[in-house]
Symmetry: C2
Subunit: 347 residues, 2 copies
Amino acid sequence: MQIGNDVKSQMPDANSFAEKVLAGNRLALARLLTQIENETTLGFDVLDILFPRTGNAHLIGVTGAPGTGKSSLVNQLALAFRKKERAETKRVAIVAVDPSSPFTGGAILGDRVRMRDLAGDPGIFIRSMASRGSLGGLATTTSGIVLALDAAGYDVILVETVGVGQAEVDIVRLAHTTVVVEAPGLGDEIQAIKAGLMEIADILVVNKADKPGVEITERALRSMLQMRKDQGRHVALANRIKPYPDEVNVDPSWFPPVLKTVAIDGKGVGSLHNAIAQHYNYLSDTKSIILKEQARLKYEVEMLLREILVARWRESIREHEYQLALTRVVQREISPWKAVKQLIEGR
Amino acid sequence: MQIGNDVKSQMPDANSFAEKVLAGNRLALARLLTQIENETTLGFDVLDILFPRTGNAHLIGVTGAPGTGKSSLVNQLALAFRKKERAETKRVAIVAVDPSSPFTGGAILGDRVRMRDLAGDPGIFIRSMASRGSLGGLATTTSGIVLALDAAGYDVILVETVGVGQAEVDIVRLAHTTVVVEAPGLGDEIQAIKAGLMEIADILVVNKADKPGVEITERALRSMLQMRKDQGRHVALANRIKPYPDEVNVDPSWFPPVLKTVAIDGKGVGSLHNAIAQHYNYLSDTKSIILKEQARLKYEVEMLLREILVARWRESIREHEYQLALTRVVQREISPWKAVKQLIEGR
């Protein structure tokens, strides 16, 4: 039948799929990313094949509170990495993670706006993601997508997230270099977020530097950094927050710079681009990059274990037993804790 | 030894601990919440005893993007529920969840500011939480804390979260009534968040209604709501997003009102208070509250299952086997997916 053949031709086997991605076929890459997002067996099979070809890209996390203009900054950074006058032109991928709309199943903004500036450049690949429903699912999916882009030969992968919540922190854990974006005049609640984000920053950016209050924001950031340094905490915190604290001894000689940018007209983006390159060199020189990579992969194994264990357990349990336990909880006979204990221990 | 006795006196057995909490002992309650936050056995044991005494409180989730001023609004709402001139004075608990600083281990703002207004009122209990590191841990911990406050006789429990990310959505799932707070002029990225939050709102509030742009924000919200109603989506979405969509058939007759407030001087808070009371009556009249409660408890069982399954598996596996798998991944011999498969299936 014709239909069967069509379906088959759209679903190549893992090996030829992987080959196409490695050969730079953009359509195959886009399809692979969809497979990964949908957590299909084919997606994982292709990643298995691609995995030994990964580890070459510079992963840059760009995070910050809503309203800081980080999407525009990522846009400008991508252009900076692509600039022809630089000695080395990089292939750039952008992964826009949008956990702010876990319900929509798709990113709302971003793609179209960005496409206008970056469209038509074969050295740029853009992917938007929306949070899936599953706990931790977003982080593992993003990780798979980054690996696929890495294998496909993108030298720089910019991962943009809203800097709030656990899933976003997990995603930032992917990055070699974490850029935290701030902006002046965002109010008290944003300040609170800032305090959390500060701790994971390799580079701090005050965007919208043409707005009033930029000096105050800059000064506040610098004094927070200095205070932490004086207390010896900038090292301790870096170790505490980066994955697997005991194993990653980040060289303490990197002190996060504070840069000012105006993303909408590109001011200061050149300096930011340089700072990112410097951080990459620093990571390479101190061998920190190897430690970071190892920690990241270990973390990934942990995340996957979680997801798969739960899925398997649910397959194994008898449905009526599960429903009975739920009923008893709903009738407030036993607490959720006791119910779970009984379900797992079978007593 | 004296020390041993002291420690013992600070750690009452579960039954007497529960009794004190039920008797309205605030210190015992505060201690219990700490036990729950630290996920101790004692904490869970006390919750087991308290659980049949829960189910009386009205759980109100207040969520919104950073910068909307929802903390002030929660503050004012608490005062409104406490007002002496009302026929029925309620005991009010506030749970401030702050997932924006997963690193600090404690909430940064909030408590001190709030304490100034609410301190000394024995009918108000305030608790701040910060996100713990574990996936999903925040939601289950918050759930335990809400149950404890419920058992302790608080009639109204206001749970305040930053409205971004999966953990926060899970927390909102706890609520009977979800209030989504907006504010004028927060920019494009906030708009994107708004679209996600809209879908879970029972009541929409435009706070900072004295600021320019309030009419635009209000009109945008109303037209989004109307559009969804015209498409028949306000029901469908409510069902899709609330937990266990197939089981919760929320009566479609509730249409989210859009209210304007100026939290800092209390304007419009009375109307918001009335709208919340109306929503509670609506839930009771249509029996939706029972369905919501059931869905919430079932969801809780699911969350706990996840956490406990992973913890148990980690205890069961041989450490060297696990380390060997990690090493192979780090050397990029096998992918994380293959490693996890091999670890779980033992092949």
